[in-house]
C-alpha cells in the first residue's frame, strides 16, 4: 500500500506542475493586471508603469513563472499584488472558514444520508421509501446554487432564522464560547443547503447497496439461524454496505470544492471560493494561482484517499 501512495504521489507532481503552468498562462492572458484598478487621475500613469516594472509584471510569463515556482518550492506563495500581504497570510484567514464549512457539510451529509439510506433500503417499496426516493430525485435535479438561493430566501430573509451573510457576528471576541456559537450559527444554513443536495447520491447508493446485500446468501443464512431482524441489519447488512460509503469520503472532498464557490458566493461567506472569485476580478494572479493549486491538490489528495480506503476495503480493487 505504501508503494501505491508513493507512486500516486509521484504521479501528482507533474499534474500539479502542468496545472500551475496552465493557470499561469491563463492569468497572463487576462486583460489588465493587478494595477489596472489603480486608474485614478491623481496618480501618474508613469508611476504605475514603474510599479509594474518593479513587480515584474512586464516580464514574459515564463520568467515570472520561474520566479514564482522557486518561491513555491520553498513554501512561499509570494505577495498578493493587490493586498500587498503574503498570499499565504491572505489565504490562511480564509482557509479556516472553508474548512469549517466543508467539515460541517460532510458531517451533515452523512447525518442525513445514513439514516435515510438505511430506512429506504431496509423498508424498500414502502411509503417511507418512496418519500425518500422522491427526495433524492428532487435533490438530484436541483442545481445547488438554485437550492441554496431558495434556502437563503426562505430561511434567511423571509423567516429570518439565520444570518444572511458573513462567517461570524461582528464584535464577538475570538476564542470565546459566543464566538464559536456565532461561527456555527453562520455556517449552519450554508452547510445544510449544500449537504441536502450532496447527500442524495449517498442515500441512493446506500439504498441499493442494502437492497443488494440483504438478498445475499450470508444474510439469508443469518436470518435462517434465527438472528433477530435488527441484529441482522446492524451486524451484517450495515457493515457491508457502509464500508464503500466510507470510501467515497475522499471523492466528497472533490465535490465540496465546486460547491463552496457557489455556496460562499450566495451566502456571502468569506472563504476560499469567494476569495478566488474576487482575485479573478482584481487580477490578483498570485492569489488566484495559489488557490487553484490548493484546490487541485485537495482534489487529488481526496481521490487518493478514496482509492486507498477502497483498496483496503475491497482487495479486489487494485489501482494502477
Amino acid at each position: 500500500m505504501w508503494k501505491l501512495i508513493v507512486r500516486r504521489t509521484f504521479l501528482t507532481i507533474p499534474q500539479i506542475i502542468i496545472l500551475s503552468v496552465l493557470v499561469f498562462i491563463l492569468a497572463q492572458a487576462m486583460p489588465g493586471d493587478a494595477l489596472t484598478g489603480l486608474i485614478d487621475p491623481s496618480i501618474d500613469p508613469a508611476t504605475i508603469e514603474a510599479m509594474r516594472e518593479r513587480l515584474g509584471l512586464n516580464n514574459p510569463w515564463y520568467v515570472q513563472y520561474i520566479d514564482w515556482i522557486k518561491g513555491v518550492a520553498q513554501g512561499d506563495f509570494g505577495q498578493s499584488f493587490r493586498f500587498k500581504m503574503p498570499v499565504s497570510e491572505l489565504i490562511g484567514g480564509r482557509i479556516i472558514n472553508t474548512l469549517w464549512l466543508s467539515l460541517a457539510t460532510l458531517v451533515l451529509t452523512y447525518l442525513i444520508a445514513i439514516p435515510l439510506g438505511i430506512t429506504s433500503g431496509r423498508f424498500n417499496d414502502t411509503w417511507l421509501d418512496r418519500a425518500i426516493t422522491g427526495y433524492t430525485y428532487v435533490g438530484f435535479a436541483a442545481p445547488l446554487f438554485i437550492f441554496a438561493l431558495v434556502m437563503l430566501f426562505i430561511f434567511g430573509f423571509q423567516l429570518s432564522w439565520f444570518p444572511t451573510s458573513g462567517s461570524v457576528a461582528p464584535g464577538t471576541e475570538p476564542g470565546t464560547f459566543a464566538y464559536f456559537m456565532s461561527k456555527l450559527y453562520h455556517l449552519l444554513l450554508p452547510a445544510l443547503s449544500m449537504a441536502l443536495i450532496t447527500t442524495v447520491s449517498t442515500v441512493q447508493y446506500l439504498r441499493s447497496e442494502i437492497i443488494d446485500t440483504k438478498q445475499k446468501d450470508f444474510i439469508v443464512t443469518a436470518r435462517a439461524k434465527g438472528a433477530s431482524e435488527s441484529r441482522v441489519y446492524n451486524r451484517h447488512v450495515l457493515r457491508n454496505s457502509l464500508l464503500p460509503i466510507a470510501a467515497f469520503f475522499g471523492y466528497e472532498i472533490t465535490g465540496l470544492i465546486g460547491g463552496t464557490i457557489f455556496i460562499e458566493n450566495i451566502f456571502g461567506y468569506p472563504g476560499m471560493g469567494e476569495l478566488f472569485l474576487s482575485s479573478i476580478s482584481l487580477r490578483d494572479y498570485s492569489v488566484m494561482t495559489a488557490l487553484v493549486l490548493l484546490f487541485g491538490l485537495a482534489a487529488i489528495i481526496g481521490a487518493l484517499l478514496s482509492d486507498i480506503i477502497l483498496s483496503l476495503v475491497d482487495p479486489r480493487i487494485r489501482i494502477k
Binding site: 486583460p31 489603480l38 508611476t47 514603474a50 497570510e89 418512496r130
Partner: protein
C-alpha cells in the same frame, strides 16, 4: 420503483413554491394594490403614485452634509465605523504609501495632512501648519504648529516633511504618489534620477519651518498640489526606502498625528483606535473608534441593528428601499465625480507620450458627436434609475467644485429633433432605407459602444443609450466588458483597441480643478485621444500664474467648459451624490470638505447605538 411517489413529491414541492409565491405577493399586495387592479395605462400612474408616497424621488438638495445634533454629548463613548468594501483592506497604513480607498478611510482617523482646505479646496491657515507664498508664487514657507506631535510624543518636524519628499522621490520608492506635483519641485528630477543627494528646492529652516520652491507657480499648488503628509523620520529614517511600505510601522503599528491612535489591527478586517489625548486641536471627546470592514450587502442590516454608527460609503441603489430607516440621519454631498461618454478620435503615441489624433476617425465629425449628446435624456435616466440621486450632467467640471462649475452652461439638452437636424445637415442620411443613417459618403455607419459591467443598472443604462441613439437613426452595437478588459481596450496601457468608437466610463476628480491630467494632449487618460489648440491654451492658462486671480481662472474654465460642449470629445452624462447614514446618537459629524467640523469633536449622546424600530 419510484413511480408515483416522486410525482406526488414534485406536486408537493410545486405547491410549496406556490405558497411561497402567494405569501410574497401577499406582502406586496398592500403597496401595489392600485397597480394590479388598474388597466395598462393607469398602472404606470398608480406606480408613480406609490413611489411618490415612499418619497420616490430625491434630490441632493434635500440632504444636509452636517449632522443635526440631537441630545447632549455624554462623556467619552466609543463608535464603530463601517468600512464598506467587498474585499479586505490592504493595510498600507501610511499616507505616503497607501494606494486603495479603504486604507485612506482608516488613515483619516489617525493621521492627517499638515494643511487643511476650505470648501473650495484652497489651503487655509488653520491646519496643523500655516503657509506663506513668496512674491513670485514659487516658494512656499510652512510653519508647523508647536503642539503638533506624533503619537509617540515626538514633535512633527520640518525634517519629517522633507523626509516624506525624499522618500517619495527616491528611485526605490514603491508607492504610487510620485507625479507631476513632485517633478514641479526644484531639484526633484535630479534627485529622482540619482544625480543629486538632496532635493535642492526643499530647505529646512528650523525645527518647525520648511520652505519648498516649485519650478512653476500655479494656482493648483493651493488646491492640493502640495504634499502635506510628513513621514516620521525618527522611525523610518534608518530603513531602506524599499522596505518601508512592508514594515511593521506601516502595517501593524502605524503612526500618525491625528485625533486617534491605532491600538490593534486584525489584518484586512478591523482596526481599533483610541483617542490621542495630545491631539493638537484638543483632546477628542470620544474614547475610541473601531473601524471594521462590512460588505455592501450587509450595510443596511448593520445600520439597522446599530452594528455601525457611521459608514464610509452607502450604496445609493439601496437608498429608496431604506430611506425611512428610523435610527439614522442621511447626510448627503455632491460626489467629486461624473459619468461620461467618450468618443475615440485617435490613438496613443507611446514613443512621444502624447495622443495621436486620427482625422479620419469614425467619430471625427463634431456634428455626429453633438447629435449623440442631444439624443440622450439623462434627466430621466437619473430620475428613473437612480431616484434622482444621480442627475443630468452639463459640463466636465462637476458641481462638487462650486467655484468653477459653470451653472449657466446648460450643456446640450435632451432634444432628439435637434439631434436629427444636426445629422441631416451634416449629411448623415438613411440612403438605403434600413432605418439607420449612412455616413455622408454613403457608407453604412455602425458605431461600437463599450461599457463597464458592475451593479445591476450598468447594463440597462448602456442599453438605454443605444436605444436613444437608435431613435435618431444611428446603429450602435453595445458590448459590456468587465472593468479590466474595459480599460485595457479603451487604452489604459496605451494600446487602444481600434474597434472601439464610443465608451462610457466615469472619473473621480481630484480636489484641484485642473483637468489637464484627463484632457491634455500628453495625458494617457485622455482616452478620447483628442487634441485641440484652444484646449491646450485654456488648460495652460488655467494653471498659469495669472490664474491665481480667481475671477480670471473662473473665466478660463468657463471658456473651457464651453469648448468641451462645442467640441464634444467626451460628454458628461451624470453627476452623483454620496450618501452617508449616521446613527442618531452621533454628534458633531459632517461629510464633505471645509465644514469646519473635525473628528476630535465627534461625540455621542448615548452609550450604545440606537437601533431601528
Amino acid at each position: 420503483m419510484a413511480k408515483n411517489n416522486w410525482s406526488k413529491f414534485l406536486f408537493l414541492l410545486m405547491l410549496s413554491f406556490v405558497l411561497i409565491l402567494a405569501a410574497c405577493s401577499g406582502n406586496e399586495g398592500t403597496s401595489t394594490e392600485g397597480n394590479t387592479s388598474t388597466e395598462e395605462g393607469g398602472g404606470k400612474e398608480a406606480d408613480e403614485g406609490t413611489k411618490l408616497e415612499n418619497g420616490g424621488m430625491y434630490s441632493i438638495e434635500d440632504f444636509n452634509n452636517v449632522k443635526t445634533n440631537n441630545g447632549e454629548a455624554i462623556e467619552g463613548g466609543n463608535i464603530t465605523f463601517g468600512l464598506v468594501s467587498d474585499t479586505v483592506f490592504e493595510g498600507t497604513l501610511n499616507w505616503n504609501f497607501y494606494s486603495g480607498d479603504p486604507d485612506a478611510q482608516i488613515l483619516n482617523w489617525f493621521d492627517e495632512g499638515l494643511l487643511t482646505w476650505d470648501e473650495n479646496y484652497v489651503y487655509t491657515n488653520d491646519g496643523a501648519a500655516t503657509y506663506e507664498v513668496s512674491e513670485d508664487g514659487r516658494t512656499f514657507t510652512f510653519k508647523i504648529g508647536d503642539n503638533v506631535n506624533w503619537h509617540d510624543g515626538k514633535p512633527v518636524t520640518a525634517e519629517d516633511w522633507q523626509f516624506a519628499h525624499e522618500v517619495i522621490g527616491h528611485p526605490d520608492y514603491d508607492g504610487p504618489r510620485y507625479n507631476s506635483d513632485f517633478t514641479n519641485i526644484e531639484g526633484m528630477e535630479d534627485y529622482h534620477s540619482g544625480k543629486a543627494d538632496t532635493i535642492s528646492g526643499i530647505e529646512v529652516i528650523d525645527e518647525k519651518t520648511l520652505s519648498i520652491t516649485y519650478i512653476e507657480s500655479t494656482p493648483s499648488l493651493l488646491t492640493g498640489s502640495i504634499w502635506s503628509y510628513p513621514l516620521a523620520k525618527h522611525i523610518f529614517g534608518e530603513m531602506a526606502v524599499a522596505d518601508i511600505s512592508s514594515s511593521p510601522e506601516v502595517r501593524e503599528k502605524p503612526i500618525g498625528f491625528g485625533p486617534f491612535k491605532v491600538e490593534s489591527i486584525v489584518p484586512g478586517e478591523s482596526v481599533t483606535l483610541v483617542k490621542n489625548e495630545d491631539y493638537w486641536r484638543g483632546e477628542p471627546k470620544l474614547d475610541g473608534v473601531t473601524v471594521k470592514v462590512i460588505s455592501s450587502s450587509t450595510v443596511v442590516q448593520e445600520l439597522k441593528t446599530g452594528g455601525v454608527d457611521l459608514i464610509s460609503d452607502f450604496p445609493v441603489d439601496q437608498f429608496p428601499d431604506n430611506a425611512e430607516m428610523s435610527n439614522v440621519e442621511y447626510l448627503g454631498a455632491v460626489d467629486r465625480a461624473y459619468t461620461y461618454i467618450g468618443f475615440k478620435l485617435g490613438t496613443w503615441d507611446a514613443e512621444n507620450n502624447r495622443v495621436s489624433p486620427n482625422p479620419d476617425a469614425k467619430m471625427g465629425d463634431v456634428a455626429l458627436r453633438q447629435a449623440m449628446w442631444h439624443a440622450v435624456d439623462n434627466k430621466t435616466v437619473g430620475e428613473r434609475f437612480y431616484n434622482g440621486l444621480r442627475w443630468n450632467a452639463t459640463t466636465l467640471i462637476p458641481p462638487s467644485h462650486p467655484e468653477f462649475h459653470d451653472e449657466n452652461n446648460k450643456g446640450r439638452e435632451f432634444d432628439p429633433e435637434a439631434a436629427k437636424k444636426l445629422l441631416d445637415d451634416a449629411g448623415y442620411e438613411d440612403t438605403d432605407g434600413d432605418g439607420f443613417r449612412e455616413t455622408p459618403e454613403g457608407e453604412p455607419l455602425e458605431i461600437n459602444f463599450i461599457s463597464m459591467t458592475g451593479g445591476d443598472i450598468a447594463e440597462p443604462l448602456a442599453r438605454y443609450y443605444v436605444q436613444a441613439w437608435e431613435t435618431i437613426g444611428l446603429k450602435v452595437n453595445l458590448e459590456m466588458l468587465e472593468f479590466n478588459t474595459f480599460y485595457d481596450r479603451v487604452g489604459n496601457g496605451g494600446k487602444d483597441d481600434p474597434k472601439v468608437d464610443v465608451y462610457q466610463a466615469a472619473w473621480g476628480v481630484g480636489i484641484d480643478v485642473d483637468p489637464s491630467g484627463l484632457y491634455g494632449a500628453d495625458a494617457l487618460y485622455n482616452f478620447a485621444r483628442w487634441e485641440n489648440e484652444e484646449n491646450e491654451r485654456l488648460l495652460k492658462e488655467g494653471r498659469s500664474e495669472k490664474a491665481f486671480d480667481l475671477a480670471y481662472r473662473q473665466e478660463i474654465y468657463n471658456e473651457w467648459q464651453q469648448l468641451m460642449v462645442d467640441e464634444v470629445p467626451v460628454f458628461p452624462t451624470l453627476y452623483r451624490a454620496t450618501l452617508s447614514p449616521v446613527n442618531n446618537r452621533v454628534l458633531n459629524f459632517a461629510i464633505g470638505d471645509g465644514t469646519g467640523v473635525y473628528l476630535n469633536e465627534l461625540a455621542v449622546s448615548e452609550e450604545s447605538p440606537i437601533k431601528a424600530e
